[in-house]
């Protein structure tokens, strides 16, 4: 069930989608490919599925070379952003499609479909058509459909992208619990870093056809290897060529050596958390995150001049990382 991507490259005309990309995915894990549009994440996923053919490199599934295998033969389940539901078939027929194509006996198909309908909580909708379902329901159906033939790998391409925020959050939670139950190697693509951090145990951050860093959510957040990862995963302030997390900036009402003089621009409260936007004399706006208690202690007001010092910072060399943790 493990997946190895070795030195894969892919170009579409003049555009390079993947540039010598390598990745190891452990069997049974839940991995996210995270990155902005155009970073190559969907292309990589589709190459793993066999829906695209790489120009160079190999894909190994469970140790066997799958690079030249057509998608039909790879035993991977694929879930599309826009569901790709067979709109002319009922929900039951959709889910059972992979099994009926492999000529499983009807009784067996029926049982498996029942089982999956229960799993995705669509028992009452078996005989409806996709057009009669909501977006979230359609995606659950798509998931059930992909899982029906018991694939070795489950691939999801921005599966919640077409859904509204609340449904997205529900399905995120749902996918996590599903993975705990079913334990199939899962890779999903997203551009939403909060989603990746929430669901995945391992994240591969991609940018401009390359993988920048692979690690657990905590690792990526605490020990980013490149400037891109620092800024893409979580928020980052830039002071000169130093990068500081919002909660690593300390505000003091009196001048501090080594600190930056700034003016308070805006204070926003999110329940218990407080975000303070500060304008330095030169350079970009800074964002500080504090607790409400600390805010009350400081008695901050708009227009007030304060000093900030980083408690923990990162610096990077031109292309790679230099870990600077102070």
């Amino acid at each position: 069930m493990s997946i190895r991507v070795r030195n894969v490259s892919k170009r579409f005309g003049a555009f390079t989608a993947l540039d010598d990309v390598s990745l190891e995915v452990e069997g049974g894990s839940l991995t996210a490919l995270l990155g902005p549009s155009g970073s190559g994440k969907s292309t990589l996923l589709r190459i793993i599925a066999g829906l695209e053919v790489p120009d160079a490199g190999e894909i190994l599934i469970s140790g066997a070379d799958a690079t030249d295998l057509k998608p039909q033969k790879r035993n991977v389940g694929f879930v599309f952003q826009h569901y790709a539901a067979f709109k002319h078939m009922t929900v039951r027929d959709n889910i059972g499609f992979g099994l009926s194509v492999r000529k499983h006996p009807k009784a067996e198909i029926r049982n498996r479909v029942d089982e999956l309908l229960r799993l995705v909580q669509l028992e009452a909708f078996g005989h409806r058509y996709p057009a009669q379902l909501s977006g979230g329901q359609r995606q659950r159906m798509a998931l059930a459909r992909a899982l029906a033939p018991e694939p070795e790998v489950l691939l999801l391409d921005e599966p919640f992208g077409a859904l509204d925020a609340r449904v997205r959050a529900e399905l995120r939670e749902w996918l996590r619990r599903l993975h705990e139950e079913v334990h199939v190697t899962t890779i999903f693509v997203t551009h939403d870093q909060a989603e990746a951090m929430d669901v995945a145990s391992q994240i591969a951050v991609m940018n401009s056809a390359r993988i920048e860093q692979v690690g657990s959510p905590t690792t990526l957040y605490d020990e980013p290897l490149t400037e891109f990862v620092m800024q893409f995963v979580g928020e980052a302030n830039r002071i000169g060529d130093r990068f500081v997390r919002p909660h690593d900036l300390e505000i003091s009402l009196d001048p501090v050596t080594g600190g930056v003089e700034t003016m308070v621009d805006r204070i926003t409260q999110f329940g218990f958390d407080v975000r303070v936007e500060l304008m330095p004399a030169a350079g970009d706006q800074l964002l500080v995150q504090l607790t409400r208690d600390r805010l009350d202690e400081l008695e901050l007001e708009r227009g007030q001049i304060v000093w900030v010092t980083p408690a923990n910072e990162h610096t990077f060399t031109a292309r790679g990382a230099a870990v600077g943790a102070v």
């Binding site: 039909q72 194509v101 057009a131």
Partner: protein, 241 residues
């Protein structure tokens, strides 16, 4: 609507017996059988070949494709009598490639193929181009071969387009005259289609008889249109959730 009413009325002007006499006359029946049979055959063949053509135009890419795409509309732009004449030139007595099917039923089929060619192509093209290709990818990821994918995923979704084209083509073929007058030879009982028969009846001063057969043609056309419409309605019920 008025002309139709007049038609139906006039066909009954000489009484029901005269109506049936006219319709059941051996010559009329022969013409009718030929017309409906040829139209059905042609519509069927065009349904298959038209779908193939639409597929090639939408999914394939090659130099000159847009020219080919434009040529499809030729039967819409060309006067039918010219079409008949050109087919006669190529597949008639002076044929340069030695094929002579003039004055035969084959000629009728050929002429009708020309005239109805665009219908299925043009009704299938938009449906095919709007088809969500991710459905095909999903089918592949679930293990379906290309043939299975075509049979179970693509075909059901383009079927409404094919059916529309079939019905339109059939209706046109049943009433076609311009392309047939020259190349078919209009031999009664052999190569005379209903429209030519009706024309003949009018010119020999039997408009009531002509009207009777015309009414039958009308009924058949409408029956096909309604029938296909019903099938379409049924096969797209999944859309009207």
């Amino acid at each position: 609507m008025l002309p139709i009413a007049a038609l139906v009325w006039s066909s009954r002007s000489e009484g029901r017996q005269a109506f049936w006499d006219a319709v059941m006359s051996p010559q009329a029946v022969a013409a009718l059988k030929l017309t409906v049979g040829a139209a059905f055959l042609v519509a069927l063949v065009n349904a298959v070949l038209g779908t193939v053509t639409a597929w090639v135009l939408i999914r394939d890419d090659f130099r000159g494709k847009s020219v080919i795409n434009s040529i499809i509309d030729l039967p819409f732009a060309l006067p039918t009598i010219v079409a008949g004449l050109t087919l006669l030139a190529l597949y008639g007595p002076q044929s340069p490639i030695g094929i002579d099917i003039a004055f035969s039923r084959l000629a009728i089929v050929a002429a009708l193929m020309f005239v109805t060619l665009p219908f299925v192509v043009r009704t299938v093209q938009p449906v095919l181009s709007e088809l969500d290709q991710e459905m095909e990818e999903a089918a592949a990821s679930l293990g379906a071969s290309e043939l299975t994918t075509f049979r179970r995923v693509i075909l059901p979704n383009i079927l409404p387009g094919i059916l529309s084209g079939f019905a339109l083509g059939f209706a046109k073929a049943v009433g076609e005259i311009g392309s047939l007058v020259i190349i078919s030879g209009n031999l009664p009982y052999k190569t005379e289609v209903s429209s030519v028969f009706i024309l003949g009846q009018i010119e020999s001063g039997n408009p009531a008889g002509a009207a009777a057969v015309a009414v039958v043609l009308l009924v058949i056309s409408f029956a096909i249109l309604l029938g296909v419409g019903a099938v379409r309605h049924f096969t797209t019920r999944y859309e009207r959730a």
